[in-house]
């Protein structure tokens, strides 16, 4: 079959798969993004003994294959069926989408925690002291000084992590989630036409390219005051420095 014909015949399935990939990636990244800031604060400030469980968790998540983690949750939950049924969670673990989302979120939390830790540690201590000196509370310092800076420092690395998560989400196809990869394998097993793999690659590359563009726009917005200073807008000294 001609490659274009594959696309005209199967585009609804591929589009459906692309939506599933996006859903898995962004829900996973979002859930991780909600937990990671708290964990990052623990990694920065807590006593070493209190950090130990968190460090073991992060090391495990980074040292084992995502596929093994997914199998551990999706197939492994079967070993605890009576207990899970007793607390009403069995239905949750039977759905491959739920398991994949859970594993991706827990995995990405580990990576995002380490990235944000780097960001928080990169915040100029003088600014934190200044914020304390003018009487900001602990929470105000975090919300107004530490996190805005930490996110700006960590932004490119966080974007890379989301792209890696998007690529890794293809693994969900192995437990029958119909994302791009799942749909592609389904179409290939029907047609034995190789070009569907190339279309899948094109789809992934397009998603990555669009994401990088959006992420850069967001970065420019996060750093707009710095850009203004460099351009000398509304700043006499900046203007003098050419």
């Amino acid at each position: 079959m001609h490659p274009i014909e594959i696309l005209t015949r199967f585009w609804p399935q591929l589009l459906d798969g692309a939506l599933m990939t996006l859903k898995l990636t962004f829900l996973g990244a979002l859930l991780a993004g909600l937990v990671a800031p708290m964990f990052a604060l623990i990694r920065v400030g807590a006593r070493p003994a209190a950090q130990l469980p968190l460090r073991i968790y992060i090391s495990f998540m980074r040292g084992t294959p995502l596929l093994a983690q997914l199998f551990l949750v999706f197939y492994g939950s079967g070993q605890f069926r009576p207990q899970l049924e007793a607390i009403g969670l069995w239905g949750f673990f039977r759905d491959p989408f739920n398991c994949a989302l859970l594993v991706f979120a827990v995995n990405s939390t580990a990576y995002q925690t380490e990235i944000l830790r780097g960001g928080i540690q990169g915040v100029n201590p003088g600014e934190i002291e200044a914020a304390r000196a003018i009487g900001m509370s602990r929470w105000q310092v975090l919300r107004r000084v530490v996190f805005p800076h930490a996110y700006r420092i960590a932004w490119p690395a966080l974007g890379n992590e989301i792209i890696l998560l998007m690529k890794a989400s293809a693994i969900a196809s192995v437990v029958t989630v119909f994302d791009i990869m799942g749909r592609t394998r389904q179409i290939f097993s029907k047609t034995f036409d190789f070009s569907v793999y190339l279309w899948a690659a094109v789809l992934y590359l397009c998603i990555t390219a669009i994401f990088i563009w959006l992420w850069r726009l967001a970065e420019a917005r996060l750093s707009r005051h710095i850009g203004a200073r460099e351009r000398g807008v509304g700043n006499v000294q900046g203007g003098l420095q050419t």
Binding site: L66, S77, L205
Partner: protein
């Protein structure tokens, strides 16, 4: 519980150990192939020839943008179809050949490793001190000598941390090859799960083995980095 992992017919210890060896073999065979390809791609990306440079950067951009598992399927199915088309075209009477999962795994993982390592190697070449290269030229070294005595020892030092991370990623990515039926650690675990109905126990053991390999790699890499940096003055 422990008899599940005993050696011999009763337990799964020997099967899982065999799978572990296949996983290590796959990673260790892929590493030199991927690294050699990575150097070629990095040289292409650094070359003064515009076409070569485009090819090099294009390769790294595309390869790093698509999922590893997709690359694996493209190689396993695509290369298989291509080889068969050539083979059957030459000898129409012959039977179709199958690309072995191990070979497909080595090729796919090496292609991925090449793309990521090319970026690391390119970065390492760019961090070389140009003054040292000029000094080498000034005392009459030939380009080959400069490469061997000045550039490569330092590129090794700059690239080692990045390559170490890629090695651990490679070790983890080998798990994907179980999807195309290679009898690695992951697949041996799956077989054991099928017969014992103890999925959590066995997948946890598999995770522990991968984790142990990653931790051991980190230790060895830390020593290699210390050794690579032995000639550097600490500030």
């Amino acid at each position: 519980m422990l008899e599940l992992f005993s050696y011999g017919d009763a337990g799964w210890g020997d099967e899982i150990l065999k799978g572990l060896l296949v996983t290590l073999e796959l990673a260790l065979v892929t590493l030199p192939v991927g690294l050699a390809l990575g150097f070629l791609v990095a040289f292409a990306a650094l070359s003064s020839n515009k076409i070569l440079r485009r090819l090099g950067t294009g390769y790294t951009t595309i390869m790093r943008g698509i999922p590893e598992i997709l690359t694996l399927f493209v190689v396993y199915n695509g290369l298989g179809l291509l080889l068969n088309a050539i083979y059957l075209g030459l000898w129409p009477d012959a039977e179709a050949i199958d690309l072995s999962p191990f070979l497909a795994g080595v090729i796919a993982l090496a292609l991925v490793f090449a793309a990521f390592s090319a970026e690391v190697i390119r970065g390492a070449f760019n961090s070389l001190d140009p003054g040292q290269i000029e000094a080498g030229r000034a005392i009459g070294m030939r380009p080959g000598q400069i490469l061997r005595r000045i550039k490569l020892p330092q590129v090794w030092r700059f690239a080692l941390p990045g390559l170490g991370n890629l090695w651990i990623n490679l070790l983890k990515d080998t798990a994907l090859v179980s999807v195309i039926a290679l009898d690695d650690l992951m697949r041996a675990t799956k077989v054991a799960v099928g017969l014992t109905k103890q999925p959590f126990t066995f997948y946890l053991v598999a995770c522990m083995l991968y984790w142990a390999m990653s931790l051991a790699s980190e230790q060895i890499l830390a020593r290699m980095e210390a050794r690579a940096n032995r000639g550097v003055r600490r500030v």
